[in-house]
Symmetry: C3
């Protein structure tokens, strides 16, 4: 099994903002050399999301307005108990539950296996500081019979031919063909 | 590592609708020959969801009413900026965020590992056209020591016995027992 | 590939409640001996969630109030069709969709790979009975060339040295170095 682990650093200079991380994830899949597998992409912070939807600015404005209706920003300690701790970001912890923490995407034949409009984004709900996104890739090359034994077979058969010893040949044959 | 990749085609003839894809996923898990692993099931379109909940028609009606309250269908460009692009499906992009893009389900002893009422559904929010669901299975048989070496051992030991050559036997022994 | 499967039993004695399952998941990751992989943690019941957010009581109170606003408890059959079946828990099926069924977390160098405040919780929406959470871990040690061949190499080379037979040596060499 192969794996690749990478943290991407984010620094959104507003309280809220949507950042495309699509190309970064695509490059890491290339780098991983995984042909068949899964990639997990998750916010490492609990006031941010990773989600897949349309790369269209109007929709992103709609999301922002909608999330503000569902869980309005309100730093006062009256609406949200969480803000009695001295924090002002209770709304961000709520918004992130709507948009989700993570996506899991298939890797097929070495590429992200996505539909035509699927695009991977980071959604910041409490920015103006450095935060991280985790990309974790696991998978492998498709298993082919004897795949990893072939170099040994070639080397062995050549060697045995040179030595002309029958026992070695039998042994090699078992190793290469059946093993 | 074993894997299986399959796209399921959907064509819901209403704007919205819930379709069971449970049996399809179950069959693909059988076909994959994976004993221990994960299956990812995700909508490949950004106006649809895959979710796990109750196979009960009343609940499905409740979801539809509830999602319509949370993000009403409104093709006009006034409520949703997204609909200024000429689209009318901004609500669908919102509803899908509530219901989610994907589920990841465990495979244990070759079967979907689910609780008693868990059932896998596709939720269409902008239908009347062909769309896809991706099923990606990764995993393997549980690893047992020497498991994949046994045929080679039997074949090799028989062969070496026939040749009665000690070097070959030593070699086979190393290969089968220790390797 | 290594895997570990475990069901955790929950029994929340109120209708709703949040329970930390963080330490349980952490221990199972240790037990699995997986160095690089993924852990899936999901509610096995459709009126409960597994989610990752802040370990802060005020926020948990906020979530409860918020979810009650988004999908109020109402056992009557008038608001929810689902409750015409004799059930009273339609609200729980809705709340769980907001908070999500599952989380997928990376395992890196044998540990949960989480951000500083990420904490794994079970959220019960229809308690006062025994329910389960599934923990499924898959992954492996990082692949190192020849790693699993080394004992065979040592054994084989020693043996061949004793026998002083060239064919055996050639064969071992192919097996250990190239194979």
């Amino acid at each position: 099994m192969k794996s690749l682990t990478r943290e991407l650093w984010m620094n959104v200079d507003a309280r809220r903002g949507i950042v495309s991380i699509h190309d970064d994830v695509e490059k890491l899949v290339d780098e991983s050399d995984v042909q068949e597998g899964l990639v997990l992409v998750n916010a490492m912070h609990i006031t941010a999301s990773v989600f897949i939807n349309d790369n269209e600015g109007g929709l992103h404005r709609d999301y922002d307005k909608w999330l503000e209706e569902l869980a309005p920003f309100d730093p006062s300690p009256s609406r949200y108990h969480h803000n009695r701790t001295g924090e002002d970001n209770a709304d961000a912890h709520h918004k992130r539950q709507i948009m989700g923490r993570e996506v899991v995407v298939a890797i097929t034949e070495g590429k992200l296996h996505l539909g035509p409009w699927e695009h991977i984004f980071y959604y910041e709900f409490d920015g103006r500081r450095k935060k991280r996104v985790l990309v974790k890739i696991i998978g492998d090359w498709p298993s082919e019979p004897f795949q990893d034994r072939r170099p040994a077979c070639v080397w062995g058969v050549l060697n045995v031919w040179k030595c002309r010893i029958r026992a070695g040949f039998c042994c090699m044959f078992a190793f290469c063909i059946v093993g």
